[in-house]
Symmetry: C2
Subunit: 406 residues, 2 copies
């Protein structure tokens, strides 16, 4: 055997990290295009948001000092309209809809159902405090708050949260470019006639699915990687070499599936790269990695489960390092233990901070701000059933940051 | 208020299910195109796989009865080649590579490193049992085994597992067709100049992100739904009505974001549909659903977090029902408690059955078959660290079936 006596512990993958070239190129991208990108500079709020008091309910904007009282309704401000400069005189009110900025001179909203309309007047029969039913200036975010840290992968939730407070660009690292080379004379490559493919399998052929699974994993868990090409080659050594050489020249990393073993007909070792050949992992022992001019080339088994194992243990840590990603995205429902009571008669969805401790997932509810989606601390949203939950209860959480301890 | 006094408990969503039209159309699809589709008929293995003994190692295929012994190597069978009819005489062997079907007359593989090559002969100095280093016929799957049940959503893992044993087609329900209508005069719709958009937000406008988040959630968690159209309209009632009517005519369901509230300027209630208006959920109380000719129309808040809540609580159960989906896909790393010891010095990846009990996730390792990916019982793959784990330990699991109790 050409290497199986000297299999490497999987922990040796860390030795590869200092040898690969990390992405340094940074580009400014629109936030709505940023999901999946690695943030290159801390995203900092450039201003308070909202910049002015913002209606949290449909109703009448008034001066709190004048409540209780009777007001003449002199206009309407719908969400999206900018009428800060309406000059309200004492005793005047405007009708506002949720999300509208309040005109100067008003600081509270009397909900529609709490006011009595009398023609062009409205009667408010009790006191409303300053900022009652209003999101005060800066209540979503304060100028200078770090919204998203360098190294985090922007998620669809971050996109919403940033746009919500008017942050429309950020700096991101360019994506890591990867080529995938699936090798094997035995491969049948879809799309082909399914009936023919089925017959070929019964005659010993194999339908290509390993490289497809690898590509799926990369696209799902490493959105900061761009698969530039996925090609299938024969086992002819010269062909494999030519394709791998071209990919090495054009991309940041190359993943080869198949031919990773030690036998005569395997080709990965024949490429002659120096590196770690074979790992103490099962399945997937032939998994290999070499680095050429700062670019990793990975050799994976042709078997799907073995290749997947190699991707998770060896490929992902290296590509994540190259991409400068410190926290990866997540996209699933998880069970988590809540760390404090959440009372409430209605069904709720609450933003939560997620922490992994002793192997389990813990969710700490964050104080909700009216309609804001912006919460730099949050890593997910939890579903609270009607009636609320007690500390220690288990709830479903839609996580958007990787729950793995990296 | 037009409805807030009569909010519905969220449990009433089940009353909608018998009113909507489930998809009945079934189509035959290639397995490599089936990820995300709802399986319409149980997928049953049409034959044993492998059909013949299959090499699990590179080495020499021999008759076990003739071991120990000396064999003349008369040929080679590489994976993908079909040479069952090589007529081996007693005392003959062939070189085979992993995955190759063994020629008739052989039933065991002597690994390359366990044999001594002497010119055109090979010496085997100990006994090898029948099927040693061989995947026996039917060891991946037996004819008649249900590989994937009706109502399950095919995942990328199912695709690999089915192709692995030569199943290349399945019957799937057509996707549920959905139109999304985002409403609101306040909306700024990307792509636009990011700097201009940022200024508009400071003047009270809102960058459209709610409908985008809804679309992301549907695409991620309901791959059996096809978003045929996502349009943005003003708040002009006639425009909203015209677009919603067209979507209702063309698609199976319509999701409207914005204008879901009870105030004068809201329009969802003005559409006049009978149904459930407002739910006891927070945020997202204005969430509504009506059914017209078997087609649901959903009204969601214009606020992202409220709309997301409405999608999870109200939209998803209804669309899942229409799609005939009993088990949805999952795509994330989870922490799970293993239910039995998994010994082993090397790092491992093992297929596991996943069960939710008392709110936590439990993983039961399944007996691995050599290189097969096919395991109808599995719902994920677990990472076992070097040295193995004990029953009760927590491990990372890549789940591919929804962990939520539905």
């Amino acid at each position: 055997m050409r290497y199986l006596s000297g299999l490497n512990p999987i922990s040796r993958v860390v030795e590869v990290l200092p040898m690969v070239r990390r992405v340094e190129e940074v580009e400014k991208v629109a936030v709505w295009d940023a999901a999946g990108r690695v943030v290159a500079r801390d995203v900092v709020a450039p201003h308070d948001y909202p910049p002015f008091p913002r209606a949290a309910y449909d109703g009448y904007a008034v001066s709190s000092d004048a409540t209780p009282g009777r007001f003449r309704v002199v206009g309407t401000v719908l969400v999206g309209q900018y009428k800060r400069d309406l000059s309200l005189r004492p005793g005047e009110a405007v009708y506002v809809t949720v999300g509208a900025f309040l005109p100067e001179g008003t600081d509270a909203v009397v909900p529609e159902e709490a006011a009595k309309r009398e023609g062009e007047h409205v009667v408010v029969d009790r006191r409303f405090e300053k900022y009652a039913n209003v999101d005060p200036p800066g209540s979503y975010v304060r100028k200078g708050t770090v919204m998203l840290r360098q190294g985090f992968v922007a998620t669809p939730f971050d996109v919403v949260g940033l746009l919500d407070v008017g942050i429309t660009t950020l700096y991101a690292y360019r994506k890591v470019k990867v080529g995938i080379v699936a090798t094997g004379d035995e491969l049948v490559v879809p799309p082909v006639d399914p009936e023919v493919a089925a017959e070929l399998v019964m005659r010993g052929r194999v339908i290509e699915s390993t490289a497809s699974l690898v590509a799926w994993y990369i696209q799902t868990f490493m959105p900061y990687v761009e698969i530039r090409e996925k090609v299938v080659t024969s086992d002819v050594h010269e062909e494999v070499r030519a394709v791998v050489d071209r990919h090495l020249a054009q991309y940041d990393a190359v993943v080869v599936t198949g031919g990773a073993g030690p036998s005569e007909i395997d080709h990965f070792y024949k490429l002659g790269y120096e590196g770690l050949r074979g790992f103490r992992m099962k399945p997937g022992r032939p998994t290999s990695v070499a680095v050429v001019d700062g670019k990793p080339i990975f050799g994976l088994s042709g078997y799907p489960i073995s290749a997947l194992h190699g991707v998770v243990r060896i490929v992902e840590p290296v590509l994540r390092h190259m991409a400068n990603a410190a926290r990866a995205p997540s996209h699933d429902w998880h069970y988590a233990t809540v760390t404090q009571d959440v009372p409430g008669e209605m069904a709720q969805i609450v933003r939560v901070k997620l922490e992994t401790a002793e192997g389990g997932l813990y969710a700490t509810p964050l104080k909700a701000r009216h309609h804001s989606f912006t919460e730099p601390e949050a890593g997910g949203v939890a579903l609270i059933p009607p009636g609320g939950v007690k500390k220690g209860d288990v709830v479903l959480v839609l996580a958007y940051r990787d729950v793995r301890k990296l």
